[in-house]
Symmetry: C2
Subunit: 248 residues, 2 copies
Amino acid sequence: MLKDDTIAVPQKCDDCPIRHRAVCARCEPEELAQLEQIKYYRKFEAGQTVIWAGDRMDFVGSVVTGIASLTQTMEDGRTQMVGLLLPSDFVGRPGRDGTVYDVVATTDLVMCCFRKKPFENMMEATPHVAHRLLEMTLDELDAAREWMLVLGRKTAREKIASLLSIVARRDATLRKTGMVGRLVFDLPLTREAMADYLGLTLETVSRQISALKRDGVIELEGKRHVTVPDFARLMEEAGDDSDGGMLV
Amino acid sequence: MLKDDTIAVPQKCDDCPIRHRAVCARCEPEELAQLEQIKYYRKFEAGQTVIWAGDRMDFVGSVVTGIASLTQTMEDGRTQMVGLLLPSDFVGRPGRDGTVYDVVATTDLVMCCFRKKPFENMMEATPHVAHRLLEMTLDELDAAREWMLVLGRKTAREKIASLLSIVARRDATLRKTGMVGRLVFDLPLTREAMADYLGLTLETVSRQISALKRDGVIELEGKRHVTVPDFARLMEEAGDDSDGGMLV
DNA sequence: GTTCGCGCTTGACCTAGGTCAAAGATATCC
DNA sequence: GGATATCTTTGACCTAGGTCAAGCGCGAAC
């Protein structure tokens, strides 16, 4: 059951996102205790594949630290990232046997997992967990559809700006300050990963980032540390109508 | 409550997809009776908007006949279809107030609706309905992600072939015969709608359809009646790895 | 320190698909 | 039956982004 990549449960479960966000917002203490019992942690290194498309998946869980991605690949090697899993995002499909896409650790990754069967049993027993899960799935669906607009209709520049604004929005250190004015964050993706997510080549990603820098939309320190002097400007560059993406 | 576009309940509810597919596969008779009471039908003409993005949505339901689409539009008019709703597909988000995209009748459309509040109540009471809904949402999510690969990485020709194979697969008259050899079906979308779904222009759609015809992958009679002499060939043209799209 | 390797940038060039424009097909309405 | 409108096809041309190739940091290994 417990694989060798299983690691000790961290000091206190407060860093377990399941408790805050993903599933348990309204769990009773005894329900939490129950979850506690079927819970374990797994660690992956950047580049490692968590599960291959088509494989049986015997757990569900959520990202604690690092980034995972859902990836689809065609025979000829073209690949498209179809989901970006940031800390607190949920992985797995209760009631389903496997995935249809690869789950890959894009950075070093720690996941909090629950063995699937007991988790499903618990779900049956506690309707609000099932309810929460439906909500989360609807959120993911909204995010996926939002991304379809990005992939289908936005220019390369708009795509980059869209990605930057999503990452900025999700950056834990920023969420409290509100999304206005100057923002600073780390970009946790390689140019290639960005390209795979945006349906571009890495050369185009690089060129567009340079262009955004040249035009003062962003500032770069090294390759990864980003400063956005004016978030509203970035949103404009993303071509974001309405509040698009605020759902994520 | 009942709008003027509400129409009489058809002869027998067997044509109501809710009963067969969407929600009620395992409903008890009294539960069905309950659903029956909160059910009504609505009719829309091609081009009519069912709900605007951001609007309050006071019902859920499913498509009985015709095609609806979920559409996102940017301020400058670029639009991307993010979902194609064929007969028996479910519309609406239990537990949510509205949509973030327009729902548009792409052809003349009949929908079977349930007022949302009573439907949600029923959902609370009958866990297997909630469970079914989660499954459906996961299916939609898979379909959306599948489509992200199409939008992000496929060529125009592959996109067209992908769309054709989805429509063929979903065509009610064909599902029984198995998806091999010669298929004949009607294409219920204008070139423009296809373009919006595929992230192309209508000119490119037209050109690629002509090309597929020229190359013998499809035959056309009029603009809409399609014959696929060899479905496997079409799948190949779609660049479909594995069983991609079989989920839909 | 030097070397290796990987991620990134930049340039030169090319092509798939977009844009603009004209005209053929159907269907609908008097 | 002709007029009008909508949908579609096709052509000529253009450009955003892909492809190929060279080189630049910069950290890790020795």
